[in-house]
């Protein structure tokens, strides 16, 4: 076990991923920067089409090619650039060092294999154990996510949505990965079931000291489970900061707009303060700041110049021209 808690486990630099289609090039991820320390949980927040899933697939080297293509950038994981690895090398990493949970549990479960055997399969693939040991470990994992051993031989369709997602979590954690990427793991679940699953994930990640990327569009989940937040818009991380800093002191106009859009359960407010306009089309991004057509504060410069990633100090980063002269510290 590594002991340096401040070491960066994942450090993504200027990642750019395009989908090249007949109708044009979809610039799904553009110069994205993101970093995670060991044991840290980062919330990757953004609306439909922001490029969250593409970023996750990029880390796993699973971007469908064609039409997808990693155009540039580095994905440094435990000191090695995953973007430079071949498929054979990636296969020893996926499911072992990095695993991923998808939004719909059924996409990652095989309907004709009992859940216990599916977990054992992953363990056998990556660890030097006998079949019997694999099955025993699988049952242990199920127990850990609150599924009793008498149900271990059941098939996925015999479980409810929440239980299926717990099975997927058991598979993802079976080999004790260093990084877990969870892509909207609770979006399809009811709130009381979501609460069960989130509680479980919180407990397990601290037990295993797993680093996690939590992909979500729900800032409530971020407040609950994450240490750090990265806000994505049109394929870039436009703001990244410590959770407390970001919630108390949001800087980017898009982040501020997101907070204004959520009905506040603690307050009575007459009207919400939505962001005007619609999501940017990644096949046809504006020339300057991708948020400029919707931004209340946009100046002439914002429509022509792309903002750089600005370090506001205290590990707070923002891509917005308003802060162009405040960098450093």
């Amino acid at each position: 076990m590594p002991n340096n808690d401040n070491e960066l486990l994942l450090d993504i630099k200027d990642l750019t991923i395009h989908y090249i289609t007949e109708d044009g090039t979809v610039c799904a991820v553009n110069n994205l920067n993101l970093s995670i320390k060991r044991g840290e949980t980062v919330g990757l927040v953004g609306e439909t089409g922001a490029g969250k899933t593409t970023t996750a697939l990029g880390i796993m080297q699973l971007v469908p090619n064609p039409p997808g293509k990693i155009i540039g950038g580095e994905i440094n994981f435990a000191g090695e650039n995953l973007a430079a690895k071949n498929e054979a090398a990636m296969r020893t990493i996926r499911g072992k060092k990095i695993s991923m949970i998808f939004q719909d549990p059924m996409t990652s479960l095989n309907p004709v294999i009992p859940v216990r055997d599916q977990i054992a399969e992953v363990i056998l693939l990556h660890e030097n154990v006998t079949a019997a040991e694999g099955l025993a470990k699988a049952e242990e994992m199920l127990e850990l996510v609150g599924i009793r051993s008498e149900r271990a031989k059941d098939y996925p369709h015999q479980f409810s949505g929440g239980m299926r997602q717990r099975v997927v979590i058991a598979i993802a954690l079976a080999c004790n990965p260093e990084l877990l990427i969870a892509d909207e793991p609770t979006t399809a679940l009811d709130v009381t079931i979501q609460a069960q699953v989130l509680e479980l994930m919180k407990r397990l990640k601290s037990e295993f000291n797993t680093s996690m990327i939590m992909i979500t569009h729900d800032l409530g989940i971020v407040a609950d489970i994450c240490d750090k937040v990265a806000i994505m818009y049109a394929g870039s991380v436009v703001e990244m900061a410590d959770k407390y800093d970001l919630f108390r002191n949001p800087k980017h106009p898009y982040t501020i707009g997101l907070f204004g859009s959520i009905p506040d359960i603690e307050k009575d407010e007459e009207m919400l303060k939505p962001i005007k306009g619609y999501m940017a089309d990644p096949a046809n991004l504006p020339a300057g700041c991708p948020f400029s057509p919707r931004c209340e504060l946009a100046t002439a410069e914002c429509h022509t110049k792309k903002p750089e990633n600005i370090d506001l100090g205290n590990n707070h980063f923002v891509k917005c021209l308003q802060y162009a002269n405040q960098g450093g510290e």
Binding site: T192, Q196, A223, F247, M279
Partner: protein
């Protein structure tokens, strides 16, 4: 006294299934005042959409009454149902699935006006459609576009324009913003609120999102497995929830703030099947405050205080103190 527009009494809807009758809605009571919004909230499968469809007579009720403007619409014949439907509309969650992909924006919005002969001439029809598009914030140049060319927010605006075409007084909103991104959701919620004020509309607003429900509602009803377990004005439920299910539901909502910490109640297990539901309290199997009586005796929805109703054996009416 506010005017009651809709009153629902002991409404039931059972679906026939191979494994026996499915109790989708099982004896619910509520009323909605003119110009107000009743928020209906609860988890997947608790019977929200079924309620919305039964009160519009889109499907037949098994039992009960739906009094609309003084008349029981469940007694209506076909012609009367048709005029009732002009007055009572529905907006669905998935704007894409509910819009005909082969029709242009203009045709979709014009259709109810044509069917119900509400336009004097071609020009009048066009004028009405463009006015509706303007009302919901769709620019006129989109009149010849098709739904698949538009994003979710604009598609939902088409659905709203269409539902407003016949100048209804009542609209069932079935998860109208659940499929939308928060920044677009906020635009649509604000639009609905403005329309309600301008046109004195009455809404039955269905959602599983308590934040949205609180924002839009005058009164809120919480449903669990075909029953209403708690109902009150929009704020009391949040300030002092009475029913254990309401408490658990509220505690489960992730709050987008780092300065509020809530004690979380984690419910065990899943919602039981609505086919042969348990005889006692529907929440018994998951309740953390259950007592012996709850197992076999179904608690009635009682008046706990003015405009506060709850169905739980733990809660006794507040006597005249």
């Amino acid at each position: 006294m506010p005017d009651v527009l809709m009153e629902v009494r002991n409404l039931k809807k059972y679906f026939k299934t191979k494994r026996g009758p499915l109790h989708a809605v099982d004896g619910i009571n509520f009323s909605i005042n003119k110009g107000e919004t009743l928020g209906l909230v609860g988890e997947s499968g608790c019977g929200k959409s079924t309620t919305g469809r039964v009160v519009l007579r889109l499907i037949d009720a098994t039992d009960g009454e739906v009094i609309f403007d003084g008349e029981n619409i469940l007694d209506y014949n076909k012609t009367k149902v048709r005029t009732f439907r002009e007055n009572a509309q529905i907006i669905f969650q998935d704007p894409f699935a509910s819009l005909n992909p082969r029709m242009s924006v203009f045709e979709i919005i014009a259709e109810p006006l044509i069917i119900n002969k509400k336009a004097q001439s071609r020009q009048d029809l066009r004028k009405q459609v463009l006015k509706l598009m303007d009302t919901v914030g769709l620019v006129a140049r989109l009149e010849n576009a098709y739904p698949h060319e538009l994003d979710g927010g604009r598609r939902q605006r088409i659905g709203i324009a269409r539902s407003l075409a016949l100048k209804p007084s009542f609209i069932v909103q079935d998860e109208p913003v659940s499929a939308l991104d928060v920044s677009i959701q906020a635009q649509i919620l604000n639009l609905m609120e403005e329309l309600q004020k301008e046109m004195k509309l009455t809404y039955l607003f269905i959602s599983h999102d308590l934040g949205v429900i609180k924002h839009v509602s005058t009164n809120i009803a919480i449903m669990y497995l075909g029953k209403i377990v708690e109902m009150s004005d929009y704020s009391s439920i949040f300030k002092s929830p009475l029913h254990p299910y309401t408490k658990a539901l509220l505690s489960a909502i992730p709050i987008p703030s780092v300065d509020i910490k809530r004690e979380r109640i984690i419910l065990e297990g899943d919602v039981p099947s609505p086919i042969s539901p348990p005889p006692g309290c529907r929440f018994y199997s998951r309740c953390f405050e259950r007592m012996d009586i709850c197992k076999d005796t179904d608690p009635e929805l009682i008046e706990y205080a003015p405009n506060r109703q709850v169905a739980c054996h733990l809660i006794k009416p507040q006597s005249n103190v």
